[in-house]
């Protein structure tokens, strides 16, 4: 079993939360947008959202400027 993160395959870990995954991916940026299977995960749910098996996850970090 695996996960797709930004179109790359990584190992699936049972009961992993979004926060755990961001840590595992060394994603240290403070502001990210995360979608799991095309559903946006609100930032206040990162610690409670468990990543399902075979999920397709997209992570983008938001950089100031406009």
């Amino acid at each position: 079993m695996s996960l797709q993160v930004n179109n790359k395959s990584i190992t699936y870990i049972q009961d992993e939360t979004v926060s755990d995954l961001l840590k595992r991916m060394n994603f240290t940026f403070p502001l990210v947008v995360v979608k799991i299977n095309k559903t946006l995960i609100p930032r206040d749910s990162y610690k409670t959202t468990i990543i399902p098996k075979d999920a397709a996850i997209q992570i983008i970090h938001m950089i100031s400027g406009g």
Binding site: L40, M62, G65, G66
Partner: protein, 202 residues
Amino acid sequence: MVTLMQDEKQEYIRKILHSHTVGIAGAGGLGSNAAVSLARSGVGHIIVVDFDVVEKSNLNRQYYFQEHIGKQKVTALQEIIKKIDPSITCTPIIQRLQPGSMTTYFKEADVIIEALDAARIKTQFIEEIQKEFPNTPLIAASGVAGYGQMNRITTRKLGNLYVCYDPQAKSSDDDVLMASKVSVMANWQADIAIEILLGATQ
């Protein structure tokens, strides 16, 4: 013959775009340039939300002129759009988008453009809009600061969230904002909006 076909296509495109509404959050470097580009393309209704006034320091990248200094950005933009094409309706909204009510002015929009400044507000806006209008395409931008290395910019598509993205750019707190890159990103967003609006018919 070719010219005739192109004219017809152009006319057809304008007709479709004219019946649509694009909402833009922010009228700074991204928002002002995107709005002008959409107006020139013929998008019939453009809603722009921003609380700020034009400052001299904005003129190095935002679509304003000396005469607009001190004026509300959205009001200036409405004037500019009217000069380009009086058949386009621009709805200027002088408001600061507040967390919790950021979706207020975008109900009518067929496509929404995130053209805000601080990363925190951008992220908040994306969350609120995608929650309230899950079926409305949203086009954001991340990484507009700096210059050069334009090949790093890509469109990341996350469902109906499109992000015009330079992942290696620095924050605008640590780098300069330049007309060249900001306007590329703004027009990149405008082009995605046009592509979406014409999508089914292309």
